[in-house]
């Protein structure tokens, strides 16, 4: 047993998201006029060896702050579920 963490890294609101803009345009061009704002971020699945949920969360926050997200331009959040270690 271990943990599967799902990490969401998204551009801070206010920070340019050229990719999101481009995708919105393309969707309109493809005939999806109902599409409003599009924001594009990263989605990471991180498997963790067995530790307590608490320490898993502490460690994960540390990973996000240090590497997974750049706090100057990005926000992050994560969910942790028990999962077979990988």
């Amino acid at each position: 047993m271990g943990w599967l963490a799902r990490v969401f890294v998204t551009p801070k609101s206010g920070v340019l998201d050229p990719q999101g803009k481009a995708v919105q345009h393309s969707l309109h061009a493809l005939g999806f006029p109902e599409v409003g704002d599009v924001r594009i971020g990263k989605y990471l699945e991180v498997r963790l060896a067995d530790v307590s949920r608490e320490s898993a969360e502490v460690r994960l926050r540390e990973m996000c702050e240090r590497l997974l997200a750049n706090r100057v331009i990005e926000d992050y959040r994560f969910e942790i579920d028990a999962a077979p270690a990988g």
Binding site: P18, Q19, A22, R66, L67, L68, V72
Partner: protein, 247 residues
């Protein structure tokens, strides 16, 4: 003077940078490996262009943790001269040695072309061989060169005269077309508050010979040489003691 040129896994312009410094400018170059832990005895450290660690996740995000970067951070603390070109600039931002960040180009595609940059500050370690307002012709080649920072940061950059280069047209006018990547306020290069750390997206090392890319790039290296050999006195503002990231 003694230059240190760092090779990270994925650095591509390290070779060219040392070629320019040693073969064209006759300088002493020490090749530094990302696993090295000291930069002692060097006058200027160059973080070259390329795709350190494949630029996976974010450009410079991983390289910034290499052992050598600890040494570079201490070196910068002591007022040592640090030059970050393209990927080097990205690494310096990720490491917090320079403010702001570099994100995906406005048009999303990698862009390789010549760009004109206007020298906004000439009394710096890195541009003292130029005149304020000079327009230089340099190559740019990057996918993530769009400089962004929050309002406050931009204002303090202006106030601190830290914006060293802006993208312009050949006549030195800031225009949307002249801005290759959508950088805020057309920023092409900035220095830190103390003035000893400089990052730019264009590639001076690829503009040091007429046969290949022109010679405007030499000015940056010659300026640094002049500063070190005492041509220009170094700013000696006490370091705004930067909190080192990491353990």
């Amino acid at each position: 003077m003694r230059w240190g040129v760092i090779t990270f896994p994925g650095s591509n312009d390290d070779e060219q940078t040392s070629f320019v410094l040693s073969n064209l400018l006759g300088e002493t170059v020490v090749r530094l490996w990302h696993k090295d832990e000291s930069v002692d005895g060097l006058d200027c450290i160059v973080l070259p262009g390329g795709f350190s660690y494949g630029d996976y996740l974010r450009c410079g995000a991983v390289a910034r943790f290499s052992p050598i970067m600890r040494a570079v951070e201490r070196f910068a603390e002591r007022g040592g001269i640090v030059l970050g070109i393209c990927n080097g600039f990205q690494i310096l931002c990720e490491a917090g040695l320079l403010p702001g960040a570099l994100i995906r180009n406005r048009e999303l595609n990698f862009l390789c072309r010549r760009a004109h940059v206007r020298v906004e500050e000439a009394d710096t370690i890195f541009t003292n061989r130029c005149r304020r307002g000079d327009v230089l012709d340099l190559p740019v080649k990057h996918g993530e060169g769009c400089y962004v920072a929050d309002e406050a940061t931009l204002r303090s950059l202006e106030a601190g005269r830290q914006i060293v280069l802006r993208y312009t047209d050949a006549e030195g006018r800031v225009t949307p077309e002249a801005n290759p990547n959508g950088s805020l306020s057309a920023i092409a290069g900035i220095r830190n508050a103390r003035g000893n750390v400089f990052g730019l997206m264009p590639h001076p090392e690829h503009a040091c010979e007429w046969l290949v890319g022109g010679e405007d790039g030499r000015k940056f290296f010659l300026s640094i040489i002049a500063s070190v050999s005492g041509g220009v006195e170094m700013p000696s503002v006490p370091s705004s003691s930067k909190v080192l990231s990491g353990p």
